[in-house]
């Protein structure tokens, strides 16, 4: 493999509903912005990857329908669908294509238009013999494993609420975020309605309409086209057993995410994540998961996640800002959500993150997470 880097990113302004555009138009919006950011014309793109969970919109073959919005006609184009990790897996596939030497410029676009379909249908159509009869979506799955996490690690609803407050405050600096509130309080979160005990409305990610894109380039093209590329230092994906009941200890151990992060840390020479990482864009579908990931990703030891959020370690200005963009809790067009994580981390390295830029960010962690079944991790850096 040869080095490859991200040289441009583009996002829509994610929202509850974008009924002013069709799915291909939504995709084109993000794709055009990424190409403009990279300083490229559509004709200069060698291959396209589309990330999307088509069951959510009830539309088959999205890569065919929206492909032209990603400028894919007469070019190689693939679709990737791996639940919540669809976006990060798409970016990693784009990286593999550029790093392998097969293509020089790869455009990756993820999108979802939840407002047009039935997200619950996409989540409910699981194993027809057992799980379908007891499925309560991502929410039910998370709520179950959170009871176990709380019982063993002593995490409190107040600590989880702090994650939601951080997220909404950060999102207020991000023009692309869907939910923003610079003045949100812990009391607001604790007063929001319970969806599934102990998860409250403000603990849970929204369903958004939106698209996000990145441009991955081979080392040679990246150096020519970009003064400060975001180099992909390491990237990996993990697949897992599909049944929540078969996963040992769930949030407490989460071997997919643990293994993926340890793998990219080893490749990128990260021994002390909290010290060596400048910023992290992690996939936290629910506040409690962000706390669990602090432990899984090695930001703190087991049982210390609550203290990390209380001490402001992961705030903008803290030792390791986590999700300065506002994260999944503030924008969640699922097929795009992982691409957003990568685009946000890359923008930090590129120095183009705007009001939520972490000054001098050189090393960034990205994670993806698809309810138990998948986890992805990437390290981006300012040097090849």
């Amino acid at each position: 493999m040869r080095p490859a880097a991200i040289i441009g990113t583009g996002q829509t302004d994610h929202a509850k509903s974008r009924d002013d555009v069709s799915q291909p138009e939504l995709v084109r919006e993000a794709a055009s912005r990424a190409l403009a950011d990279a300083g490229l014309r559509p004709s200069e793109v060698d291959a396209i990857i589309i990330g999307n969970m088509e069951m959510f919109e009830g539309r088959a073959l999205p890569e065919l329908w929206v492909g032209e919005g990603g400028f894919a006609n007469r070019k190689p184009c693939l679709k990737i669908a791996t639940g919540g990790t669809s976006g990060t897996s798409s970016c990693i596939a784009g990286f593999h294509q550029a790093a392998s030497g097969v293509f020089d410029i790869v455009l990756v676009v993820g999108f979802e238009k939840h407002s047009e379909g039935q997200t619950q249908t996409g989540m409910a159509l699981t194993d027809p013999f057992w799980d379908r009869g007891v499925a309560s979506g991502a929410l039910g799955n998370f709520a179950l494993s959170i009871s176990q996490y709380m019982a063993e690690r002593g995490v409190t609803p107040e600590q989880a609420a702090r994650v939601a407050v951080k997220s909404r405050r950060n999102a207020a600096k991000n023009p692309h975020a869907h939910l923003k509130d610079a003045n949100a309080t812990v009391a607001d979160v604790l007063a929001s309605k319970v969806l599934a005990h102990p998860v409250r409305l403000m603990d849970m990610c929204p369903q958004s309409d939106g698209a996000a894109a990145i441009v991955v380039a081979s080392a040679e093209r990246a150096k020519k086209l970009c003064s400060r590329p975001a180099w992909v230092k390491a990237a990996t994906t993990r697949h897992e057993q599909p049944y929540i009941g078969d996963i040992d200890r769930r949030l407490l151990s989460m071997r997919t995410l643990r293994d993926a992060s340890r793998s990219v840390y080893a490749t990128a020479g990260i021994r002390e994540p909290l010290k060596q990482l400048d910023v992290a864009e992690i996939y936290e579908p629910v506040t409690y998961a962000e706390l669990a990931w602090y432990e899984i990703l090695g930001f703190c030891s087991e049982g210390q996640a609550g203290r990390l959020i209380e001490d402001g370690v992961t705030e903008i200005g803290g030792e390791l800002p986590v999700n300065p963009s506002g994260g999944v809790l503030c924008a969640n067009p699922v097929g795009a959500t992982g691409v957003i994580r990568v685009a946000e981390a890359a923008s930090q390295i590129l120095g183009r993150a705007g009001a939520h830029q972490i000054e001098g960010a050189k090393t960034a962690l990205v994670t993806g997470y698809g309810v138990y079944a998948w986890a992805d991790a990437m390290i981006l850096g300012s040097e090849p």
Binding site: Q120, L125, V134
Partner: protein
């Protein structure tokens, strides 16, 4: 500006899935209130519901072992948000209790409903037992729900 134009689509369709050898034997057992797990010859993990392949060792599983119809609540929740039932297309209204229950004799947990929907009366570590329906037909809802043993 004129009103936005959108396309509304409604449809009813049906699907039919083969259960496979492992689930067939398991489902047949349920009709006699018999619960069986498949044990991995490599790591010894006892899968319930049975799986054809071990998620740790990738070995094909064929050793059946008996499992009790009661066990320990490893995880629980009470769901308030209405959810789509993926078998019927009907909406299931909350609140309803759910749990991951490790039945005595199994190593994985069974995802099922709880009779209890009061969060103040639920906790990790409680014991629960299956409440069977009168008419058994070899499906997940042969067990109506689990009730906490107090």
């Amino acid at each position: 500006m004129t009103e936005r134009i959108s396309v509304q689509i409604e449809m009813n369709q049906s699907w039919r899935y083969a259960s496979g050898a492992a689930m067939e034997r398991f489902a047949d057992g349920l009709r006699q209130k018999r619960i069986e797990a498949l044990r991995c010859g490599g790591c010894g993990r006892r899968y319930l519901p049975p799986r054809p392949v071990c998620g740790n060792c990738h070995l094909h599983l064929s050793e059946w072992v008996p499992v009790a119809d009661q066990g320990v609540v490893e995880a629980w929740t009470v769901v308030y948000l209405p959810f789509l039932d993926g078998r019927t297309g009907e909406i299931r209204k909350g609140p309803y209790g759910m749990a991951l229950i490790r039945l005595d004799g199994a190593d994985t947990t069974l995802n099922h409903y709880l009779a209890e929907a009061d969060p103040t009366r639920l906790a990790v570590g409680l014991r629960a037992r299956a409440v069977w329906r009168d008419e058994l037909r070899g499906a997940i809802d042969d067990i109506r729900h689990f009730e906490v043993m107090r």
